[in-house]
C-alpha cells in the first residue's frame, strides 16, 4: 500500500464533486462513477487501506469514508437523473412543444335528450324492463279510450291534443303521451310484462321556457301477480339513486291520472326542495280488463316521465326550447 499520505477526505470530496459537476453527458458521469465509486475506484481503494491504519484510528476512518461514499452516491444519482432529464428536454434535432395543441378528430355527440333517455332506460333495462317503441301518430283509442279516458271526459283537458283526423271512425292524433304503448304491449303479450317505452309526444300547448309542444317521454309498465305500490316505490327509488345520486330520496304524493288508481306524483329531493319528476300509479283495473287481463289476478304499476325535464334539472338548463333548437353552442356541451 502506498505510504504517501493521501488527500484528506474533505479534499477528496471536493475534487470528486468538482469533477462530477464537469461531467455533462451520461458517459462522462458513468466514467466518474467508475473512477470514484467503482469496485476499483478511489473510495474502495481507500476503504481497503483502512486496515493498514493503527487499530485505534481504523474505526473512525472507516466510518468517515463510508459517509463520504454515501454522499457521493447520492450526488451521482442526482447528476444522472439531471442528465437524463436534460436529454429529454434538449435532445437536438426533433424538439417538441408539449404546450402546442395535439391533432384530434372532431368530437361529435349524442343529443342531450338521447343521452338522458339512454341513461334512464339503462336503469330500467337492468331491472328487467325491456325497451319497446311504437307509432307517434296514434289511434285515439290507444291514446285515450283504452286508458280509461273516454270521449267527453274532463281528464282530456289535462292533455290538449293535436289531431290528424278527428272525425274518422277510428280517430287519429299525435300521441299526447307514451302510455298507448302500455295498451299495445299488453294486447300482444301476456303477463309478466315489464317494459319501458321512450319516444316523442305532442300537445297543443303554447311554447315557453318550461313548455314545448313536442317533447320526449319515457313510459314504464310492470304487470304480474303480486305487483304492488311498494314495488313501484322501490323501483323508482332505485331509478332516483342512479340518475340523481345515491343519497337522493323520493316522495310520493297523491295525484290523478285516469289510467292508474291510486295515482301518485313522484318528486325527488333536489337542493333541499322536492321537484316533481313523474306521474305514476297502480294500473287501473279497467285498463287491465280492457286488454283482456284478469284484474282479480294481476296488478301492475305504470309511470311516465319527461327526459328533457330531468336533463334540465340535472344540467341546470333554463329553457326547454333549447332541446329542439339544435344549436351547436348548446349541443356541443354534452
Amino acid at each position: 500500500m502506498p505510504e504517501a499520505s493521501p488527500a484528506s477526505t474533505q479534499e477528496l470530496e471536493r475534487a470528486a464533486l468538482d469533477s462530477l459537476a464537469a461531467a455533462k453527458s451520461e458517459s462522462e458521469i458513468e466514467e466518474w462513477r467508475i473512477e470514484y465509486l467503482g469496485r476499483r475506484g478511489v473510495l474502495s481503494t481507500r476503504l481497503r487501506s483502512v486496515g493498514t491504519l493503527p487499530p485505534e484510528a481504523r474505526r473512525e476512518a472507516g466510518a468517515d469514508l463510508n459517509r463520504l461514499k454515501n454522499r457521493l452516491s447520492n450526488a451521482f444519482d442526482e447528476a444522472a437523473q439531471h442528465v437524463s432529464e436534460s436529454k429529454r428536454e434538449f435532445a437536438p434535432g426533433d424538439a417538441i412543444d408539449i404546450t402546442l395543441p395535439g391533432r384530434r378528430s372532431n368530437l361529435g355527440g349524442l343529443h342531450p335528450s338521447e343521452m338522458m333517455m339512454r341513461e334512464i332506460l339503462d336503469v330500467f333495462n337492468d331491472m328487467g324492463f325491456q325497451t319497446v317503441e311504437g307509432p307517434i301518430v296514434e289511434l285515439e283509442k290507444y291514446n285515450f279510450d283504452m286508458l280509461n279516458v273516454p270521449a267527453d271526459h274532463p281528464a282530456r283537458d289535462l292533455q290538449d291534443t293535436l289531431w290528424i283526423d278527428r272525425n274518422s271512425d277510428d280517430p287519429v292524433l299525435l300521441r299526447t303521451q307514451t302510455s298507448p304503448m302500455q295498451i299495445r304491449t299488453m294486447e300482444k303479450q301476456k303477463p309478466p310484462v315489464r317494459i319501458v317505452s321512450p319516444g316523442l309526444c305532442f300537445r297543443h300547448e303554447a311554447t315557453d321556457a318550461t313548455h314545448e309542444w313536442q317533447f320526449h317521454q319515457i313510459e314504464g309498465l310492470a304487470v304480474d301477480e303480486g305487483v304492488t305500490m311498494a314495488d313501484l316505490k322501490g323501483t323508482l327509488y332505485e331509478f332516483a339513486r342512479r340518475i340523481f345520486g345515491t343519497q337522493r330520496k323520493i316522495r310520493f304524493r297523491c295525484d290523478y291520472f285516469p289510467f292508474v288508481e291510486p295515482g301518485v306524483d313522484v318528486s325527488v329531493d333536489w337542493d333541499g326542495r322536492w321537484v316533481e319528476i313523474m306521474g305514476a300509479g297502480m294500473v287501473h283495473p279497467k285498463v287491465l280488463e280492457g286488454v283482456g287481463y284478469d284484474s282479480a289476478k294481476y296488478t301492475g304499476f305504470a309511470f311516465g316521465m319527461g327526459p328533457e325535464r330531468i336533463a334540465m334539472l340535472r344540467y341546470n338548463i333554463e329553457d326547454i326550447r333549447h332541446f329542439f333548437s339544435n344549436d351547436l353552442r348548446f349541443l356541443s356541451q354534452f
Binding site: 328487467g128 316505490k233 297523491c254
Partner: protein, 820 residues
C-alpha cells in the same frame, strides 16, 4: 278553485298555519298552486297596552307602553280610545302602513324612527285605516281580548286564499265544504256541515209547479222547489264578501244564494222567475235541431238535437246545466221563484258546453259527473240561504223527478287483502276504519262476515268512488306515502323479445357521433314552405302513388302544420342556422320518423318510417396550427356512410343519382352490393340553389340519407362479422401501381379491378392527381396493393404475374396504363 281560509273556517277548525295546511292538502292530492295573503303587514303584530301615561310636552298625546311578546316599547299615541289592557295592532319601525292622511287611495308609507314633541316613539299603535281594513282613523283598532300577543296581524285581521288546482276526479272539492272535509281528515278535526233546515208555509209545491223530464237519460234527477214573495235586492255584506273573496261578482240576493251554494257544496243551481214559466210547467227535453235560445248573457244560441233544454210549454227557458235563459231571468221585479237543482249527464253537458264555447262554473261541475244525491242537499241548502237573504215563503216539499232512483252504485266492498294486494303493506284495522270515517264514509262489516272487510257506502259528494282501488287511494293519500316501504318487483322476469329497434339505431347513431357528428332532434311537424326548400325524393316505383303529407287539423302554428315527409329540409335548416353562429365544423344528423299518407285507404294510420339524414358544412375541422383546413366535401359525406355501413357489416355500391336537392351529377344512390341492389341511401353535394334557400353563411354543404327501415331489415340481428376468420399467417407484400388514365375514368372502377384479383388482399387509392406533369385530359392515379395468400408465402414471380394480370385488365377495360 279558490278557497278563502275564512270561508273554510266556517266548517272546520284550523289550528295549523296556512303553509302547513297547503302542504298537507297538496300531499293528499289537492295541489295548492298558490296562497294569496290579504292584509298581511310585515312588522305589525298583536301587542298589549301595559300602561298609558301623559306626554310631557303635549296634552293630546300620550305615552303608551306596549308589550309585543319580544319586549316593551314606548310609543307616542294620539288616539283617545287607547287604554290599559287592550290588545292592539303594534307596528314596529319599518312597517309599511297605509297613509291615513293621504288623499290618494292605497298610498303607503314606511314607519321611521322619530321624535314626537321631544319624545322618541319606537313604533306605533295602528288605526283601521292605517291597516287598510276600513276608514276609521278616529282611534286605534282594538282587537279581540283573546288575541295572542306577538301573532302577526295578518293572522288576526287578514285572510288567505288557497288556489287549489283540482284534479278532474274530485268535483266535491269544487265546493268549500269538500275541501273542509279533506282538511278535517288531514288534521284530525270534525267537519261542521252547514244547516239544511228551513220553515215552510203555504200550499205544497206539487200544487204550484210541475216538472216533466222527457229525456231522463240526459237528466237523471231533477229537483225543483218554489219560494214565494221574495224581496230581490243586493245581498247582505257577508254573502257579498264570500263571493268577492273568490272573484265572483255579486248580482242580487237570489242569484248570489245559488252561486254561494254552488261554491259551498259543489251543486250548481238555477233560479227561474216562477211567473215567467208558462203554466209553471218545466219540461226537460232535447232541443229541436236549430232551436234558438237567448241565454241570459244576451246571446242567441243555436242548438242541435243533442243539446238539453229546460223548457216550458212555450219554448226554451234555459240551457240545462250551462246557463239560464234571458226570458226567465231573475230581475228586480221578480216575486216568486222556481229553483232548480238537477243532475245532468256529464258527457252530454260537456259536449254541449264545448260546442257552444260556454265553459261555465256549472259545466265545470256537471261535466265531472255528480251523484244524484247532491241535488237534493244542494236545493235544501239553497232554499235556506234564499230565505235568509231574500225572505219569502218556501212551499213544503220538493218536486223530485228521479226515475232511475236506486240505480246508482251505493257501496263498495273493500277487504284488507285487497289493500295489501295494491299497496304491498298492511294498515292496522283501526287506522283503516278511522281514516275512512274521517272522510265521511259510512262503513259496516261485510255481510258475509270476517273482520277484514268493509262495506263502504258511497257518500253523495263522492262520484269518483266506484271500486276498491278508489278507497285504497283514499287511505293512502290521507295516511301518506312516506312510510310505504320500497321493495323491488319480485317474480318472473319477462322473456326477452328480439328485434328492438332502438338497439339497431344505437349502432348507427354511435358510428356517426364517433365520426364527429352531432345528433339533433327537429320538430316532427313543419311548414310546407320549409319542406319545399328541399323536397323529399320523388317515388320511383310507378305503382306507388305520390306520397302526400299528413296534415294536422289544429296545428300550434303554421310553421308546424304538416308532418315531415323527409328530414332533408329540417336538417339542412339546422345546419344552415349553425353556420351563422358556429365557426367550427357543422356536422349534424337526425334519425327520426317521417310520415306520409298510406296509399291503402283502409290503413288505420299513416305510414311512419325511420329515416336518417346528415349534413356537413363549413371547415372540416377546428383550426389547427399546422393544418390547412378545407371545407367538408363529398368524400366526407360518403365517408360517413361508409363508416356506418362498415360498422353494420353491410357492403354497398354507389351509383349515379339525379335528385333535385343534390347538384346535378354530384350525387350517388347507395345500394347494397348484392344482386338485389336494395336502395339504402343517398349522398351528394347539395345543389347551390337549394343551399342558398336556407340562408347559410357557408358556401356549400354535403348531405347523406340512410333508409333506416331498409337497413334494419338487411342487418337484422347480425353483428358486423358473422364469424371470426383466422387472419393470414403468411406475410403480405405491398406494391404501388402508378397509373395514367383518362380524366373521365372512375377511380373506383380501377380499384375494383385490383381488388378482384384473387391474390390481392386489399387495395387502396393513395393519390389522385391532375395538372402539371400530367398530360391535359389525363390524371395520374396511385393505387397501393397488398398481395397476400392464406396458404403460402407468395413468391415475387407470383406477385409479378398477378400485377401483370391487373395491369392488363386495367388497360383492356379502362384504357388505364402504367405511368412510364
Amino acid at each position: 278553485m279558490k278557497v278563502p281560509l275564512s270561508w273554510l273556517r266556517g266548517y272546520v277548525d284550523i289550528d295549523i298555519d296556512v303553509d302547513e295546511l297547503a302542504h298537507r292538502l297538496t300531499m293528499a292530492g289537492n295541489e295548492v298552486d298558490s296562497v294569496k295573503r290579504f292584509r298581511h303587514i310585515e312588522n305589525v303584530v298583536v301587542g298589549e297596552v301595559l300602561n298609558v301615561a301623559p306626554h310631557p310636552n303635549a296634552d293630546r298625546l300620550r305615552l303608551v307602553h306596549v308589550d309585543d311578546g319580544e319586549g316593551v316599547h314606548e310609543v307616542v299615541c294620539g288616539a283617545p280610545n287607547v287604554a290599559k289592557g287592550q290588545k292592539i295592532a303594534y307596528a314596529s319601525i319599518g312597517a309599511e302602513l297605509f297613509d291615513a292622511y293621504s288623499e290618494e287611495q292605497g298610498k303607503t308609507r314606511r314607519l321611521r324612527r322619530s321624535k314626537i314633541r321631544g319624545v322618541e316613539s319606537s313604533g306605533m299603535v295602528c288605526s283601521e285605516k292605517e291597516l287598510g281594513i276600513g276608514e276609521n282613523h278616529d282611534g286605534i283598532l282594538v282587537l279581540p281580548e283573546n288575541s295572542c300577543i306577538g301573532t302577526p296581524i295578518g293572522d288576526v285581521i287578514g285572510d288567505a286564499v288557497l288556489d287549489i288546482e283540482l284534479t278532474p276526479n274530485r268535483p266535491d272539492c269544487l265546493g268549500v265544504v269538500g275541501v273542509a272535509r279533506d282538511v278535517a281528515a288531514l288534521t284530525g278535526k270534525t267537519l261542521r256541515m252547514p244547516s239544511l233546515n228551513y220553515p215552510t208555509t203555504g200550499p205544497d209545491v206539487d200544487t204550484l209547479a210541475k216538472v216533466s223530464v222527457a229525456d231522463s237519460d240526459l237528466s237523471p234527477r231533477y229537483v225543483g222547489a218554489v219560494i214565494r214573495r221574495v224581496h230581490i235586492g243586493p245581498s247582505p255584506p257577508w254573502l257579498q264578501e264570500r263571493l268577492n273573496a273568490i272573484g265572483e261578482r255579486p248580482i242580487n240576493n237570489v242569484v248570489d244564494a245559488t252561486n254561494f251554494v254552488m261554491f259551498e257544496l259543489g251543486q250548481p243551481l238555477h233560479a227561474f222567475d216562477y211567473d215567467k214559466v208558462t203554466d209553471h210547467h218545466v219540461i226537460v227535453r232535447r232541443a229541436v235541431e236549430g232551436e234558438v235560445l237567448t241565454t241570459l248573457d244576451g246571446v242567441d244560441r243555436k242548438l242541435d238535437s243533442e243539446s238539453l233544454l229546460i223548457a216550458d210549454p212555450g219554448g226554451g227557458i234555459g240551457l240545462a246545466g250551462i246557463m239560464g235563459g234571458e226570458n226567465s231571468e231573475i230581475t228586480e221585479t221578480t216575486v216568486n221563484i222556481f229553483l232548480e237543482s238537477a243532475n245532468f249527464n256529464p258527457q252530454n253537458n260537456r259536449r254541449t258546453a264545448g260546442l257552444l264555447g260556454m265553459r261555465s262554473e256549472a259545466t265545470l261541475r256537471f261535466e265531472k259527473g255528480l251523484r244524484a244525491g247532491l241535488a237534493e242537499v244542494g236545493i235544501k241548502r239553497c232554499l235556506r240561504i234564499i230565505q235568509e237573504v231574500a225572505g219569502g215563503e218556501i212551499a213544503p216539499g220538493l218536486i223530485d223527478a228521479w226515475p232511475g232512483k236506486g240505480s246508482e252504485q251505493e257501496y263498495v266492498d273493500l277487504t284488507n287483502d285487497h289493500i295489501v294486494r295494491v299497496m304491498g303493506v298492511e294498515y292496522p284495522v283501526q287506522q283503516i276504519e278511522t281514516t275512512l270515517k274521517s272522510l265521511g264514509f259510512e262503513i259496516e262489516s261485510l255481510p258475509d262476515g270476517g273482520p277484514n272487510g268493509w262495506r263502504v257506502t258511497i257518500p253523495y259528494w263522492r262520484p269518483d268512488i266506484a271500486i276498491p282501488e278508489d278507497l285504497v287511494e283514499e287511505l293512502a293519500r290521507i295516511i301518506g306515502y312516506d312510510d310505504l316501504p320500497a321493495t323491488g318487483v319480485a317474480g318472473r322476469v319477462p322473456r326477452w323479445e328480439p328485434g328492438a329497434t332502438h338497439l339497431f339505431r344505437h349502432r348507427v347513431v354511435d358510428a356517426l357521433t364517433a365520426y364527429g357528428m352531432h345528433q339533433t332532434f327537429t320538430y316532427a311537424a313543419i311548414s310546407d314552405e320549409l319542406e319545399d326548400k328541399a323536397p323529399p325524393p320523388a317515388r320511383r316505383s310507378s305503382n306507388d302513388r305520390a306520397s302526400e303529407g299528413v296534415k294536422l287539423e289544429n296545428p300550434v302554428s303554421g310553421h308546424h302544420a304538416t308532418l315531415r315527409r323527409s328530414l332533408r329540409a329540417p336538417t339542412l335548416e339546422s345546419a344552415a342556422r349553425n353556420t351563422r353562429t358556429w365557426r367550427g365544423p357543422v356536422a349534424l344528423f337526425e334519425t327520426g320518423l317521417v310520415f306520409e299518407t298510406d296509399p291503402d285507404p283502409n290503413a288505420p294510420l299513416p305510414r311512419q318510417s325511420e329515416q336518417l339524414t346528415g349534413v356537413l358544412t363549413g371547415p372540416r375541422g377546428d383550426t389547427l396550427w399546422d393544418r390547412v383546413d378545407n371545407d367538408f366535401d363529398f368524400y366526407d359525406a360518403k365517408g360517413a356512410i361508409e363508416q356506418v355501413l362498415e360498422t353494420l357489416g353491410v357492403d354497398a355500391k354507389f351509383i349515379p343519382l339525379e335528385d333535385t336537392t343534390y347538384a346535378q351529377g354530384k350525387a350517388a344512390e347507395v345500394v347494397t352490393a348484392d344482386r338485389k341492389g336494395t336502395p339504402i341511401g343517398t349522398v351528394g353535394i347539395v345543389d347551390t340553389a337549394v343551399w342558398e334557400r336556407f340562408e347559410a353563411e357557408s358556401p356549400g354543404a354535403v348531405m347523406f340519407e340512410l333508409d333506416m327501415e331498409a337497413l334494419r331489415v338487411i342487418v337484422g340481428d347480425k353483428t358486423r362479422a358473422d364469424s371470426y376468420t383466422p387472419y393470414p399467417r403468411y406475410p403480405g407484400s405491398q406494391r404501388d401501381l402508378a397509373l395514367v388514365a383518362d380524366s373521365s375514368v372512375r377511380v373506383g372502377d380501377a380499384l375494383q379491378i385490383c381488388q378482384q384479383n384473387r391474390l390481392v388482399k386489399s387495395a387502396s387509392v393513395f393519390d389522385v392527381y391532375e395538372g402539371g406533369g400530367v398530360d391535359e385530359g389525363q390524371k395520374s392515379i396511385g393505387i397501393r396493393v397488398i398481395y397476400q395468400s392464406d396458404t403460402r408465402t407468395l413468391t415475387s414471380e407470383q406477385i409479378a404475374r398477378a400485377e401483370e394480370q391487373i395491369v392488363r385488365r386495367l388497360e383492356h377495360e379502362l384504357g388505364v396504363s402504367l405511368r412510364s
